[in-house]
């Protein structure tokens, strides 16, 4: 793939590559070193700023907020998948009164920023008298509406990428339109689209962090809260570092699953993959 852009290096190119490698290593080490040096100089590594992370109470709280993040992620992921399938079926329905609203629903909720959706839920609805909207509900419903619409497009693209004969054969043996969708097209589409679907789940995981802006008590919210503790030297940078490590860890586990399934799938399924990836 990318190896076609350059020839197999000869003696001259090898020397140049050694030179380029050295320069890259120096630049990267320089940048990382500079950042670490600034951290060190401004006292981000002092024991005082890290002491708070040694308290059992704080460590327990970190486990709790990882739990709340995972809870929002799990509920939102299941909800988005269900909504995505429903919307994809709606869009593929024969009846115009069903497919048009589903089309507008997906277009609309993909165009509104997720944070604004959450704000509408959390600040907007209570202001007109809707009661019982907790930050958790606002985060989860916002995530489901947005990612459900995105996943609907993914499922639709997956179904569109299947050979036409699949649907025709299903109809020919007397299945109804809905039965063909449910029992023939969807299972194949999900398989073809699994890497994209899991990539979208990683996006959901990352977007739970938006909840910190509407006071949902998750990892980032707690990290910034710790950062405001003056008596421990306001460990903002250490707090964010800990949060970053947790997020990257969680997302890498999910991405690892994605890569593994992609590898598993690509060796078995020979369906043309439609392009559908949405940047979070």
């Amino acid at each position: 793939m990318s190896a076609v852009l350059f020839d197999v290096p000869g003696p001259k190119a090898r020397t140049r590559n050694v030179y380029l490698n050295t320069v890259t290593v120096i630049v990267v080490v320089g940048i990382i070193g500079f950042i670490l040096f600034r951290f060190y100089e401004s006292g981000q590594f002092t024991a005082q700023k890290w002491e708070i992370f040694t308290f059992p109470r704080v460590q327990e709280m970190f486990l709790t907020v990882i739990g709340t993040t995972l809870k929002a992620f799990a509920v939102a992921a299941v909800g988005s998948l269900v909504l995505g399938i429903i919307l994809a079926f709606g869009r593929l329905a024969e009846a115009k009164w069903l497919s048009l609203p589903c089309y507008w629903f997906t277009e609309l909720f993909r165009a509104v920023p997720l944070l604004i959706l959450m704000m509408i839920m959390y600040y907007g609805l209570p202001s007109v008298g809707v009661k019982g909207i907790t930050p958790f509900i606002a985060v989860v419903v916002g995530l489901i509406l947005y990612n459900g619409s995105v996943l609907a497009e993914v499922f639709r693209a997956g179904i569109a990428s299947l050979p036409k004969g699949q649907r025709e054969a299903g109809l020919a043996i007397g299945l109804s339109n809905g039965q063909v969708l449910r029992t023939i097209l969807l299972p194949q589409a999900v398989r073809a689209m699994l890497p994209v679907i899991i990539a979208q789940l990683v996006v959901i995981m990352k977007d739970t962090a938006l909840g910190s802006l509407i006071t949902y008590n998750e990892i980032l919210y707690y990290a910034t809260f710790l950062g405001s503790q003056g008596q421990y030297g306001s460990p903002v940078v250490p707090g964010l570092m800990v949060a970053a490590v947790i997020y990257v860890g969680l997302c890498l586990i999910l991405s690892g699953v994605a890569r593994y399934t992609e590898f598993k799938m690509s060796s078995r399924v020979k369906v043309v993959k439609a392009k559908a990836g949405i940047a979070g």
């Binding site: 852009l5 890259t24 165009a111 910034t224 970053a244 990257v248």
Partner: protein, 216 residues
């Protein structure tokens, strides 16, 4: 309607700053993303590794955390002070650049092998193969995914509202201080975003896609 008209200046200022955030971040992320994509296909292994490390680590970090770092963490490092606006532009550019680089890299892979083989056959070195032959063709096939990245960027600018940047996402906080009704105000913000995305960016995306379509 009243909320919009009574506070028109607030909405205009907010969306003006959203536009500034969007344009500067799009510009910088396009440049940085192209460089990173070039690094990831370069002959030097260290450059490839550096590019891959950058993309994998930043793409798996929530944007909210990156912006929190630049807004809350950066001032503690004793470096030259930058405004919250510029901090948000830096954060958004660094984050979006990873998506741009992935889009461009997949575009590079769609350019047929014969193109770069021909370039190498006439003796062009890597940089010229990349910048004269492959990238110009890759950019064309990359227009639709790149536009999706920029649409996501436009929506992501609202996250900066959480970090003291006055823009579309922070209109709510100001309305709240003024005691204006929140739901209509927020719905107006949402509607303007829908108009920007579905009314301007998506049609532009389809137009450019059609105009620059390459027959392969």
């Amino acid at each position: 309607m009243n909320v919009l008209l009574d506070n028109s200046q607030l909405f205009i200022d907010g969306f003006k700053n959203t536009g500034i955030l969007f344009i500067f971040s799009a510009f910088f992320s396009l440049i940085l993303g192209t460089i990173v994509a070039g690094m990831r296909v370069s002959p030097a292994p260290a450059m490839r590794a550096a590019g891959t490390f950058y993309v994998n680590s930043v793409r798996n970090t929530p944007l909210t955390l990156i912006l929190a770092f630049f807004a809350l963490g950066y001032p503690k490092l004793g470096l030259p002070e930058i405004s919250f606006m510029n901090a948000a532009i830096v954060g958004l550019s660094l984050y979006t650049a990873t998506y741009v680089s992935e889009a461009i890299r997949s575009g590079i892979n769609t350019v047929s092998v014969g193109q770069s083989e021909a370039a190498r056959a006439i003796g062009l070195p890597f940089m010229q193969t990349l910048t004269l032959i492959v990238l110009p063709q890759a950019f064309r096939s990359v227009v639709p995914p790149l536009f999706s990245v920029f649409i996501a960027l436009l929506k992501n600018t609202t996250v900066a509202a959480g970090f003291s940047v006055l823009e579309a996402g922070s209109i709510r906080a100001t309305l709240s201080d003024l005691g204006e009704p929140l739901l209509p105000g927020l719905l107006w913000v949402a509607l303007i975003f829908v108009l920007l995305v579905l009314g301007i960016l998506s049609p532009l995306q389809r137009y450019l896609e059609k105009k620059w379509k390459v027959a392969r």
